[in-house]
Amino acid sequence: MAFTLYSLLQAALLCVNAIAVLHEERFLKNIGWGTDQGIGGFGEEPGIKSQLMNLIRSVRTVMR
């Protein structure tokens, strides 16, 4: 595969766009990945799922 830097930029842009278009109410809540469902206790163990949800939420906030 011949990658140019431009194709890397395109791929990054498409991935970020894909994360940004995940709708909060219609989709994420239905699969249990909403932002108010994941933040469990104030413990020290975030776990992968809550880290991912945090990441999705921050990407969506930045891209808004």
Partner: protein, 334 residues
């Protein structure tokens, strides 16, 4: 010299071209004769040496011959040329300052300098360690008062010099390998395989070199991003910054170079043997280094699942390396 002093004053004042021109022009009439006399005695500078200390002569310019010096002297005796000279060099210094400022916004230059503080013995030992890491005992990075020691004093510290040089050497070696290939081998089989040939498998031409370089760079960037994502998801509070990860993922280029060289010298079998050897050495090296670098002991201690996660991430990163090495070099040693 007079030109340098006036130029320094203009640069310190406001740096704009008109001020320099005016300052120089006003100063020129008074010192005109002295300037000419002095310029005839030593070779006149074609551009001012504006970097730092002004004590050094503009000495990069050797005097070619008497008549050439005199012609240049006559040319530089023209006041407009001198004004243009001062203006141009002030613009150049402005550009340099602007570039430094922009660069400083993205990359902290001090942190970058830490990674390049290497010397010859460190590089030699590190290369030996990359090829044969099995006998090395202590893998901890040493600190001195909470600051990690630079690579000059600590063999386990990561550096960016070796990866950078190895990357450049890999690109040049890829070009050479493509040029060495026989004609029958290097032309892609005409629609015989459905798969896509990596573009570095074509015959050599200058744009193939650039494509090869950018492909390898893109793989490095993707790997660093994946590692960053892995470190973030595992929520490991360690001192593995982006540049550390860049350094560790750049070490595989040494393995690639060795594999390609062995493949060129000893044929396809030598290539596979070298590939296996360098892959296992690199995997061992990365696993040992990252296991001591990643978990920073905090007061609460790391809970068990997080350590498992970190271990999986490390093993995944290590297992990814041979695949990349094979993918980026197999077409060169066909």
């Amino acid at each position: 010299m007079i030109s340098i002093h006036i130029h320094a004053a203009a640069r310190r004042a406001s740096g704009s071209g008109s001020v320099a021109a005016m300052a120089y022009h006003s100063g020129y009439g008074a010192h005109g004769s002295k300037h000419r006399a002095r310029a005839a005695a030593e070779p006149p500078p074609l551009f001012d040496d504006t970097s730092g200390g002004y004590s050094s002569q503009p000495g990069g310019y050797p005097a070619p011959g008497a008549e050439v010096a005199f012609n240049v002297n006559h040319f530089l005796g023209d006041p407009m040329a001198n004004v243009a000279l001062a203006y141009g060099s002030s613009i150049a210094s402005q550009g340099k300052d602007m570039v430094h400022k922009e660069l400083h916004r993205f990359v902290s230059v001090n942190k970058l300098k830490y990674f390049f503080a290497v010397d010859t013995t460190y590089v030699a030992k590190k290369l030996g360690l990359l090829v044969f890491p099995y006998t090395h005992q202590s893998w901890e990075v040493q600190y001195s008062r909470d600051v990690p020691l630079p690579p000059r004093q600590d063999l386990n510290a990561p550096d960016l010099y070796i990866p950078t040089m190895a990357f450049i050497t890999y690109v040049l070696l890829a070009g050479m390998a493509l040029g060495i290939q026989k004609r029958g081998q290097s032309e892609p089989p005409p629609a015989a395989d459905g798969g896509e040939l990596p573009i570095c498998g074509r015959r050599f031409s200058p744009e193939v070199l650039g494509l090869c370089a950018s492909t390898a760079l893109v793989w490095v960037v993707m790997e660093v991003l994946a590692l960053l994502l892995g470190v973030y998801l595992a929520a490991a509070r360690s001192d593995l910054s982006t540049l550390h990860l860049l350094a560790y993922s750049g070490y595989k280029y040494v393995g690639m170079i060795l594999s390609v060289l062995t493949g060129l010298l000893f044929g396809s079998d030598g290539y596979y043997v070298a590939l296996a050897w360098t892959s296992s050495a690199l995997m061992y090296f990365i696993v040992r280094s990252l296991r001591t670098a990643a978990p920073v002991p905090d007061s609460l201690g790391g809970p068990a699942p997080r350590q498992h996660l970190q271990l999986y991430m490390t093993l995944g990163a290590a297992a990814f390396q041979p695949l990349i090495i094979y993918w980026l070099t197999s077409h060169l040693v066909r």
